[in-house]
């Protein structure tokens, strides 16, 4: 796993037919050296704090996860049933590696970890998420972030 050829045929067909078209170029921002990188995680696992409103079908918004939120406060309201949740259930870092990132910061490998991190729901088409993502970019820059680690689910 996971190449489409190795998946159950129904699941592979579903992924094969998702619309990924329309990307003919690749924007590029030169990254800082890792020792100067202040990093935020952006997940598409539909993570949320327990008291946040759950993600709805087709929702293009995001939820905010503070760097000091307790792991027990985070749940997942992704609409898809076609991915494993048992890894997340056993260890948040399988989906949202905040502890690993903090360890790299403590070791001096990266400059720091953002105060806030963000979650979208990956079932929503990326074009629909773009306005919220542009808004987030400004918020992340205000948080001193210069590098984003994107984590799908």
């Amino acid at each position: 796993m996971v190449r489409l050829a190795d998946m159950a045929p129904e699941a592979a067909d579903h992924l094969r037919h998702l619309d990924c078209a329309g990307y003919t170029t690749t924007p590029w921002t030169t990254a800082p050296p890792l020792s100067e990188a202040r990093i935020a995680i952006v997940s598409t696992a539909a993570l949320q704090r327990r008291d946040d409103p759950p993600f709805a079908v087709g929702e293009a918004g995001y939820r905010v996860i503070a760097a000091d939120d307790a792991p027990g406060d985070l749940v997942m309201s992704h609409i898809s049933t076609n991915f494993d949740r048992t890894g997340f259930e056993q260890d948040l870092n399988v989906v949202f590696p905040l502890d690993r990132l903090k360890e790299l910061a403590a070791a001096g490998e990266i400059a720091g970890v953002a105060n806030h991190h963000y979650a979208f729901m990956g079932s929503t088409p990326p074009q629909a998420m773009a306005p919220a993502a542009r808004e987030l970019a400004g918020l992340m820059r205000a948080d001193g972030v210069n590098t984003v680690f994107l984590v799908p689910v």
Partner: protein, 241 residues
């Protein structure tokens, strides 16, 4: 995921990412992506293995040094627990699943009662549970699903039902993976156990057909696409779903 990378880079933020479906990253052309051969749902590979997770993280961050892109690299190793664990079983063997019907509620409540001590172990060891998105206890989720099976037209909203299903699955799977010292089950093993060996799995599959007849469009979408994993569709005919 790669679509978000396009936006952030365009806004002047450097990005790197994990890619779970290589074919999508080839199409979307994000600036920097590390394809990993892991199960969907496990982008960092394996739970409770900080060293392996850090390897994946470092490999993704290393792509930031590339002078130009798009960069799509392959992570070389499978996750340590990708292969099925030999002899894995749920901590407490459950009775054979009860076919959906009049005995459904009692069967679900009996399963929950047997799993409760192991869910408590999981919650104690992990200091968390991902269940209770719906605000309902597992037994209340079970009663709701049994009631909807009896009277599909009386179902609550599609979202309420979705959260109850999510919670019941989380409860079962957290309990099933709790036994200390047990070899870690693969993602597929736990899914096959839930959908193939529990009355709860039978009920969820049995709900699909009647709810697809609902007059509520959201409920039809939920039942048709969001209730049973595609990888478990081969069981639907057996369960009447």
């Amino acid at each position: 995921m790669g679509g978000l990378a396009h936006v952030f880079e365009d806004e002047g933020l450097a990005t790197t990412q994990v890619s779970l479906v290589r074919e999508h990253s080839v199409e979307i052309r994000p600036p920097r992506a590390l394809w990993v051969p892991f199960d969907l749902g496990r982008p960092l590979g394996t739970p409770d293995d900080a060293a392996f997770q850090t390897r994946v993280l470092r490999a993704a961050l290393a792509l930031l040094a590339a002078p130009s892109g798009p960069v799509l690299e392959d992570f070389p190793d499978q996750a340590p627990d990708a292969a099925p664990a030999e002899g894995w079983a749920c901590p407490i063997p459950l009775p054979p699943p009860t076919p959906p019907g009049d005995a459904t509620e009692a069967a679900l409540l009996a399963e929950i009662e047997r799993l409760l001590p192991w869910h408590a172990v999981a919650q104690r060891d992990r200091q968390r549970s991902t269940a209770r998105l719906s605000g309902r206890a597992p037994a209340d989720c079970a009663r709701l699903l049994a009631e909807v099976l009896r009277e599909p037209e009386g179902a609550p909203s599609a979202d309420e039902l979705r959260f109850a299903c999510t919670d019941l699955k989380a409860f079962y799977m957290e309990a099933a993976t709790a036994r200390p010292g047990q070899q870690r089950a693969s993602a597929r093993q736990v899914a096959d156990w839930f959908w193939g060996e529990t009355s709860a799995g039978q009920v969820l599959m049995a709900l699909r057909a009647p709810l697809m007849e609902s007059s509520d469009k959201a409920m039809r979408l939920f039942a048709g696409r969001l209730l049973v994993p595609l990888a478990q569709y081969h069981r639907l005919s057996q369960a009447g779903g």
